[in-house]
Symmetry: C2
Subunit: 412 residues, 2 copies
């Protein structure tokens, strides 16, 4: 357990999940690798689900049906079935049928209504789901539901991810332990808004629907919508936040919001850090913007620039590319006002080049590329536009030959 | 000479340049390689210049001054000095001084006013121009001005380009020969609107200012603003179209527009084909869109998708990525209406997967990657959205490990 702020601490293991939630994750033979590929989350009765989905016009049918079911039930559903291996996108009517068959069967096994089950998919686009294998394994999946099977569920949703992405935190409010646990998958096709990412958050603070929707929306803007691996938005991107439990007093809402932000930002950073072929996490903080939207937009453009990403890959403090990317964001600023730092070294002061030690800055970048896939390996860039009081952060990663290899040599 | 349409023919050599224009291109020692790096175009008296410049907020001062001089003179300027090696961007007051010194000296040598000289730069951002070397070589540059030095000028503006980019065409209208000649440089950082590209077009059709501005704007939209190498817009992107000569009757304007379109599209395709690390030209035609803007937007998103570009590089007919990229364009369409072709093979019909021979399609893509850097090596993708009557085309290239290598191992 390690302290994050005056309220929240990370929980080191994945057994202390929020009260009443059950998880399961097994191998159903959907992936050729025989790794885990089917997960289930069952929430306590009365839980509130809030979902945010891909903004692409081309969406997997599962996304459309999830959104529809959530809307019709005003967020009061119960379970999420998640499969990896096939994305069930661009699969026409067959995709819809498979969704209905799978969620119908889960409902039957759990003794709930089909409309109370959501289903999220990730994997290859355009290939029908291996529905027979999936259906055959649903009884095992259900019988394996446990409060401490969180990690199995988190493993089962991964595709080309190299690392498990889980974040568990807790706090004590008026003698009551509050827990938030999130898990995610990412890898390629990661770009705001949302990404080829699935992420799920469970929380036992007991927040009513309207407030919960608002909290989730705030957290997503500053986390999953502020990361980029390759500028691609997927057909299946989904984030679902669930909360349950006795209603907490609203004066503690800011603490809960902080907790949700922490979990979402940590998952988002883990996704960017584990971008396909990535060797480091790139964090761009923009200060002195006219508003938060402008700040995040400039930060996103820098994180998403192929030329910045390749420069970082080459450990080259190529400030011209950073400034050039900022200039393409559409946000108005004056170059003669701009301060730029890479790590602790100031490169530009009011738009003018400082005498900086480029070898030292190169070594700073290189030191973050240690091959350990730690989210702590952050190359930090800070820009102050000096044209306002707002700030915002975005995250990305370097662009390597490995990214090209992964995406040109395999169908994903 | 080879026929393009009923009016225009390509001129095979670079000696038949438009009437009255003079060109020069020499080495002034600005590039470490000692290759040609300084060019000059002198237009006949009374010529009309129309310029379009980068839309980035961070612009080289040369771009600002060019735009200002063009505006003040209502397009009636005379000469363009172009250097490669240093972009003269993010160089503060020094950059402005260097522009003024260089154009002042050219004006003196040519006996015209400083305000009648424009200057375009390309090369490394943030490094001051080697002004002493440049100034020392201006007399040679001016004394070398000839109507048949077009190719030297075209060579002198290249940076990491692998191929020369020139297009010369001619037609006969009422017994009068009309010629259009364009040259360009591209390579990385190529994205609409404009690119790290410089392009110059000369024409002797004699069109008045207002009409000429309109013609240039129309041509740019369908050419330089419809290409992408890496989604990056540069600090220096500039296109300048010059026309001169006896005024042609306006009933021939459509023929002239066609000619300008041909030259601009050919230069643009050459830029995309010669994108850093590229092995083929990618051409995406979108049909059945509600309007031309939508069609070009969808085509651009496909050309600009890292996942489509890596798939093409891997000769993988990954239609899921193509459709997914189209879905991210923000243009409304229904997947169930979409037809998709790669080359001559239909992959989707009304959103449904056809039985197609994926090995044949892979071979089609592979056949375009012959290492000859020909603009004829085109991988063609066609999408019909079947939701309107409009169409549009965009061009790009594949994304290779070589792109990453070029941009991570060298400061450019």
């Amino acid at each position: 357990m390690s302290q994050i702020d005056s309220n929240w601490s990370f929980v080191d293991h994945s057994k202390e999940t929020p009260e009443g939630f059950l998880f399961s994750g097994i191998s159903a033979g959907l992936k050729a690798s025989n790794k885990k590929d089917l997960a289930l989350v069952l929430a306590p009765e009365g839980s509130i689900f809030s979902g945010m989905f891909t903004q692409s016009i081309v969406r997997a049918s599962c996304v459309d049906i999830c959104e529809e079911r959530l809307k019709r039930a005003s967020g009061f559903v119960r379970a999420i079935l998640i499969n990896s291996g096939q994305a069930n996108a661009c699969t026409g009517n067959l995709g819809i049928q498979h969704f209905q068959i799978a969620t119908g069967k889960i409902a039957e096994l759990l003794g709930i209504k089909e409309e109370e089950v959501l289903m999220c998919s990730t994997g290859v686009i355009g290939v029908p789901i291996k529905i027979n294998d999936l259906i055959k394994n649903l009884p095992n999946l259900v019988s394996d539901l446990k409060s401490n099977n969180f990690q199995n569920a988190a493993e089962a949703i991964l595709t080309t991810d190299l690392t498990l992405k889980t974040v568990l935190i807790e706090t004590i409010i008026q003698g009551r332990k509050i827990k938030i646990a999130g898990f995610a998958k990412g890898s390629g096709m990661i770009y705001p808004n949302m990404a080829t990412m699935l992420a799920f958050l469970t929380c036992d603070a007991g927040i009513q629907k309207e407030e919960w929707d608002k909290m989730i929306s705030i957290a997503v803007k500053k986390s999953f919508n502020a990361i980029s691996v390759d500028g691609e938005t997927s057909t299946n991107d989904s984030f679902i936040g669930i909360n349950s439990g006795e209603k907490i007093d609203k004066r503690f809402f800011p603490i809960i919001q902080k907790g949700i932000d922490i979990v979402c930002q940590n998952l988002a950073k883990n996704i960017a850090r584990d971008g396909e072929g990535a060797n480091c996490l790139l964090e761009v903080l923009v200060q002195g913007a006219k508003n938060t939207e402008d700040a995040i937009m400039v930060a996103k453009f820098i994180c998403n620039s192929a030329l910045v990403k390749t420069a970082i890959h080459g450990c080259d403090p190529n400030w011209g590319r950073i400034i050039s990317a900022a200039g393409n964001s559409g946000v108005e600023f004056n170059l003669n006002d701009v301060d730029l730092y890479i790590g602790n070294d100031q490169i530009l002061e009011k738009g003018k080049l400082k005498q900086y030690d480029s070898i030292k800055v190169t070594e700073y970048i290189r030191s973050k590329m240690n091959g350990k896939y730690l989210v702590e390996d952050i190359v930090q860039i800070m820009i102050n536009l000096n044209s306002g009081e707002s700030k915002g952060t975005a995250w990305g990663c370097d662009l390597s030959k490995k990214y090209v290899e992964i995406n040109s040599e395999y169908t994903t």
